[in-house]
């Protein structure tokens, strides 16, 4: 298995004394395909060596275009991409030494699994017996030695996916690029592959860039997530940062469920006021009274009001419109004033919640998150 480990970079690539924290760097990268709106618009991102970073966003948000520019299939219209301090621009894809797993795996249909895995080694002129040895090891590392002579069409989606992974790793690339590799798999297999990928990353320590539109996938697998929207990065952070302290309304809405209240800061900066719902306590904001803000409360932050600490918590009366059972929890859909509210309650608390009733819930001020006031840098936030 150790055969698949990335080779330690030569001394001149990464001087030992100054282990560059930023290994792969995108500086103000823009890609225009002719239209007026760039597909990628001034993206800057620093990725450290060994990191598992996810580019997350809806389709058309620029995440895949960004990956294609890193892989070399597209050239940026402007900006710079460097790997280990050296520019990648103008370097043909086959000279970049990056391993990639494609959305549909892109296995060579006319080659056996072993020949697929051996391909990058053959292209690199590796000696015949070493090719055989490393191919075997790579197949073993994904548990598919017995399938070496099968052709892709004779393998399941999950097996093809593992072969694609072995092929992308066997030549010890500098970076592993994953373009929605789990999208075509069914749910249980996808979850299994998520764990496997994560384990593989921990074992090999290879810098990995993972593109997905699935926020759950991003949350479970990533060291950091870069959230893309309309060609820009809205926020880069750890999954917990992204979840609990989203930088923009888009991020708050895209990752997890959220309730957003449009409010104005009250006197003293520790309250926020809604004309319809009254005043809420907030964590001290330091903002001037009257500033328009958005308060995000995650559905699972609410508790039933009877359980709340009196005096400290915010109270909200919700007109229940419906509910969805998830087994372990209950999602209550309702309204407070004209705002749609989602409340997620543990199953033990969820009795007697029916449409037409009123549900009183509360939350602690420190468990809500004030979205930073958004400078209208782009019309991305509606």
């Amino acid at each position: 298995m150790s055969e698949v480990q990335p080779r330690v970079r030569d001394a001149d690539d990464a001087p030992a004394c100054t282990r560059a924290p930023d290994y792969l760097e995108l500086k103000d990268v823009t890609k225009r395909y002719g239209g007026t709106v760039p597909a990628v618009n001034g993206v800057s991102l620093s990725i450290t060596k060994g990191e598992f970073i996810t580019l997350l966003g809806p389709s058309g948000s620029g995440k895949t275009s960004t990956l294609m520019m890193i892989a070399g299939f597209e050239e940026p219209t402007s900006g710079e991409i460097t790997l280990g301090g050296r520019s990648l621009l103008g370097i043909a894809p086959h000279r970049r030494n990056l391993g990639m797993v494609f959305q549909n795996y892109a296995l060579f249909p006319h080659m056996s699994a072993a020949d697929n895995v051996a391909f990058p080694l053959r292209m690199r002129g590796v000696a015949r017996d070493e090719i055989a040895r490393r191919t075997d090891a790579a197949l073993a590392s994904v548990g598919l030695q017995a399938f070496a002579r099968r052709h892709p069409r004779e393998m399941s989606g999950g097996q093809q996916q593992r072969i694609a992974l072995a092929r992308a790793l066997v030549f010890e690339p500098d970076v592993l690029l994953l373009d929605e590799p789990l999208g075509a798999l069914d749910k249980s297999l996808r979850e299994q592959m998520q764990l496997e990928l994560k384990r593989l990353h921990q074992r090999l320590g290879i810098t990995t860039i993972f593109v997905t539109h699935d926020q759950g996938e991003a949350m479970t697998m990533s060291d950091r997530i870069a959230v893309f929207n309309r060609g820009r990065i809205e926020q880069v952070g750890t999954p917990l940062e992204i979840y609990h302290r989203p930088a923009t309304r888009f991020v708050a809405g895209f990752i997890g469920d959220s309730n957003i209240f449009d409010l104005a800061i009250g006197e003293g900066g520790a309250t926020a006021v809604s004309e319809m719902l009254g005043s809420f306590r907030i964590a001290p904001s330091g903002l001037a009274a009257g500033t328009r803000v958005r308060l995000m409360v995650r559905p699972e932050t609410f508790t039933i009001a009877a359980n709340a600490r009196p005096g400290e918590a915010n109270l909200l009366e919700i007109a229940v419109e419906g509910s969805v059972h998830y087994g372990d929890s209950l999602l209550v859909l309702g309204r407070a004033g004209d705002i749609e509210i989602r409340v997620r309650l543990p199953n033990v608390q969820a009795s007697g919640i029916e449409p037409g009733r009123t549900l009183r819930v509360s939350w602690q001020p420190e468990h809500a998150w004030l979205l930073p006031p958004e400078i209208e840098k782009s019309p991305a936030f509606d």
């Binding site: 494609f102 002579r149 052709h151």
Partner: protein, 262 residues
């Protein structure tokens, strides 16, 4: 439904069922049913230089046609399917034009034009004319395969360290090979049984089998024509059966090579 199918089958097969027995006939001219059976005209076919010469001509011309057509239509297919350029639509129409132009019109044109170029009665002339009419079918075959070709495997090959030439050699070509072989066979067959143009321009020196059959029918209803027809039929059947067998063998081999999953 099966009655309709049966009638259609009969319509297709009936002429063949008449031709094959006639080829073994002992009658001095085409006659059905034959008065007796023998190999007289088969002997005549293989010994008469008019027939063997025509067979050789046909094979040479069809082979060269196949090569010339592939050399023109394959790059054209790549250009039109994979690139966006201004004259793309016009190019497509030009490539398909021989398909809609009546062969007799083409033949007349070649007869006059190649005459002034001294290309009539030469291999070059016939090969050029046959390549022209074969281009549409090769273009259609190859471009259909190209449209269905998943280019992400080319990207994968690039990503794995293959430059453009090696991507073509190791990935594009092998994956498209069946389409290329089929297209080349189409061009070969197109040329091999093309008659109208051959009659107009092949002359005596470059006479192809269909032309020789036509000539000999016109002059004497020679039963050797039935022999040639039977041989052509046998070749086609053998070709189709052969490709089926190869495909079946390949599938069987693929199954055998699968190790038993532990």
């Amino acid at each position: 439904m099966s009655i309709i199918a049966g009638v259609i089958l009969l319509f297709v097969l009936a002429p063949l069922l008449i031709i094959v027995p006639m080829s073994f006939s002992t009658a001095p001219s085409l006659q059905f049913p034959p008065p007796g059976y023998g190999l007289t005209y088969y002997r005549e076919f293989v010994t008469d230089t008019r027939w063997t010469g025509a067979l050789v001509n046909s094979i040479i011309i069809a082979t060269l046609t196949s090569i010339v057509t592939m050399a023109v239509a394959v790059p054209a297919s790549f250009a039109i399917v994979r690139h966006r350029f201004r004259s793309r639509g016009l190019m497509t129409i030009l490539l398909l034009l021989p398909l809609i132009a009546p062969h007799i019109v083409l033949a007349l044109g070649y007869y006059v034009y190649f005459g002034s170029l001294r290309l009539t009665q030469t291999y070059t002339g016939v090969v050029l004319a046959h390549s022209c009419i074969s281009i549409p079918v090769v273009y259609l075959t190859v471009s259909a395969a190209l449209k269905g070709f998943d280019r992400s495997i080319e990207r994968a090959a690039m990503n794995l360290g293959a430059g453009p030439l090696r991507v073509f050699r190791h990935v594009t070509l092998p994956v498209l090979r069946p389409a290329f072989v089929a297209a080349a066979l189409f061009a070969f067959v197109q040329s091999f049984d093309e008659t109208v143009i051959a009659i107009f321009i092949s002359g005596r020196d470059a006479a192809t089998l269909p032309r020789q059959m036509f000539d000999s029918m016109r002059t004497q209803a020679d039963p050797v024509v039935a022999v040639v027809s039977t041989l052509l039929l046998a070749i086609v059947v053998a070709g189709v059966a052969g490709s089926r067998i190869v495909a079946a063998r390949r599938a069987a081999f693929a199954r055998r090579s699968v190790p038993v999953a532990a």
